[in-house]
């Protein structure tokens, strides 16, 4: 209020001036700062927020804890009523027999190969298609994009039968049928082969990935398009002015820019392909091709009947689930930063 009264200036040496305030006492300052309704409100709100967030985090994480705990339990633990979360007789039996008898390693190898190839292909193809939709005007742009959305909305279950038949009797627009003498009797180049049987191979999924029609690819194309819409046109224009072609601009300037977004999409594609049971179930009809889907079973050595065997079986199934997602957890821990950044930057918001 009255600054001059409370401020004393002392002249000590020639060039130094020391200003001395009449400071309000410590307790009074603390009181003014912390004993207010405003501060109280903030504390209550912060508490409420943390209770809520921690509570919901618990809801999300508890199933994982429960599964991990039960995966170390032996049959005795399930009979013992005092054992709930921490096993009394911990064993590695469940892991051991799932690896030994459910062909876990074979399934791991197969699924890694499949998921990796599909995810890499999908990431690049969706980036290319998304770029085409975002930056170029051509006839049918909106119609084609509407079809992308359409492919996102149609659930694959609807197309289950048709998709199976398509790849069981594979033929591109009747070409193979034509070459095999299906149309003209005289023309027979392939020796009577009128269709290809592509089931029990990776080919159907690779083909779907190559054309942007695999699981949720519509979403990825949509995300990439939104991302590229946010990239300023001037960037490419300056590249064009400098004499770079469209392709070179895309591969040398645009692709490096979109790496975080592509990591996001790679993660989605990889993890959704990894846990997929629909496509693997549809295309892999033989039982000797082990995918992640086929390891969810009770190993023979653990298939025993006792009072709590249904619980024990449930625990084994959950252990299978844990072993399926184990590689994904590692991936998620390393990449979750990109995942969330990527989505925030993608501007799905439009």
């Amino acid at each position: 209020m009255n600054a001059d009264a409370s401020v004393k200036t002392k002249r000590k040496a020639k060039n130094t001036v020391k200003v001395d305030f009449d400071r309000t006492p410590f307790w009074q300052r603390m009181k003014a700062k912390y004993l207010t309704l405003y501060f109280l409100k903030r504390v209550v709100w912060a508490l409420f927020r943390y209770v809520l967030l921690i509570g919901i985090s618990y809801v999300i994480l508890f199933p994982f804890f429960a599964k991990i705990a039960s995966s170390f339990m032996s049959p005795e633990d399930f009979v013992d009523a005092t054992v709930k979360l921490i096993p009394k007789y911990p064993t590695f039996d469940q892991y051991k027999y799932i690896v030994l008898e459910n062909h876990y390693l074979k399934a791991l190898l197969n699924t890694t190969l499949l998921s990796l190839s599909c995810a890499v292909l999908q990431t690049f193809i969706c980036a290319i298609i998304g770029y085409g939709f975002a930056k170029f005007k051509f006839k049918g742009n909106t119609l084609l994009f509407a079809l992308v959305i359409f492919s996102m909305v149609v659930p694959h279950q609807t197309l289950q039968l048709a998709m199976f038949m398509k790849f069981r009797y594979f033929d591109v627009l009747g070409i193979i049928n034509l070459l095999g003498g299906g149309v003209f009797k005289g023309l027979d180049i392939t020796g009577g082969v009128k269709y290809l049987n592509l089931t029990n191979q990776f080919t159907p999924l690779i083909l779907l990935s190559l054309t942007g029609f695999a699981f949720k690819n519509g979403l990825y194309i949509f995300m990439m398009r939104q991302f590229y819409k946010g990239v300023p046109d001037e960037l490419e224009e300056s590249a064009y002015v400098d004499g770079s072609g469209v392709m070179r601009t895309f591969f040398q300037i645009i692709i490096p820019l979109s790496v975080p977004m592509m990591i996001t999409i790679f993660l989605f594609a990889f993890s959704w392909q990894w846990t997929d049971s629909f496509y693997t179930g549809l295309f892999f009809t033989k039982t000797d091709i082990y995918m992640m889907k086929s390891i969810v079973a009770i190993p023979k050595s653990l298939d025993i009947t006792f009072a709590a065997s249904n619980l024990y079986n449930a625990a084994i199934r959950n252990t299978c689930g844990l072993m399926i997602i184990l590689p994904l957890v590692i991936l998620f821990l390393f990449c979750q930063r990109y995942l969330i950044q990527g989505i925030e930057r993608s501007g799905i918001t439009g």
Partner: protein, 324 residues
Amino acid sequence: MNNTANEKVAKAAPKKKRRIASLDKKKARAGYIFVLPFIIGLVAMYLPIIYDSILYSFTNIKHGADGYQLMFVGLENYRNALFVDTTYVQVLTTGIKQLFLDIPCIVIFSLFMAVLLNQKMVGRAAFRAIFFVPVVLSTGLVAKIDAGNELLSYMQNTDEGISTGAQSTGVSEIVSAMDFKYLFSSMKVGKELVDYVIDAINNIYNIVNRSGVQMLIFLAGLQSISPAIYESCEIEGASAWETFWKITFPMISPMILTNAVYTIIDAFTSSTNTVMSYIDQVYGKTDGDVLSSAMAWMYFIIVIAIIAVVAGLLSMYTFYQRRD
């Protein structure tokens, strides 16, 4: 500007054999090249698959030694699905009812959590990561294992846990429904609403699991709101409550529309959907393949209609900030 200049150039040299394409044409061509994989897939695979799928729903398939034979049976499959199959209609109606009940729950919950996670606090990154765990880890196979998981309900019977995906009995519910009903019955808000809220709370695990992507969409939307608006609001003396309803809510309303549609699509295409799993089950039966096609198409048309209605209703109340 550019267009006309290019056209003039093109007109000026009409007799040259090799015609120089205008920039627009060149770019259009490049656009086609980029989209080419999609077009090939569309023409060579997807559209035939869609066509076949619709066709199959009107036919009967006989698998032979050399390929298969189709017999056109008209609407028989549809008639069978609706009038002969006893469970389909029942599953369909409950599924659609559940869909309608789930949409507001998921949208409101994810908006609320997004607002919370958008505030500055210690450990925000960790919470965000945790909330995103289900999107990556609880899909597909794991979701299938979780559905009807006896283990989790058993584990939680000791501490009054929340029903985690599994069908829970009265013991493991987070709030004792009786207490809650008793509390609210005197407030006269309607029995249905109370039941709905209790169901939602007991089902929190499912809701959290299914609202990961929606939460991120809301988060992205919240971050695109200009801080200047909030600042001016604060200067004018608006409370947090007022700021939410007058600023955040209208600004986020386009994303509410997006999320509502996304939720429907997600629920509709997920493998844990009851209607879809019933259709899967029918697919596995003998001669059930064509029947399941018919069922799936019917369900698809109904859901498209629902999306149209919901999007239409919501877009009436959506606020678009005029940019430029």
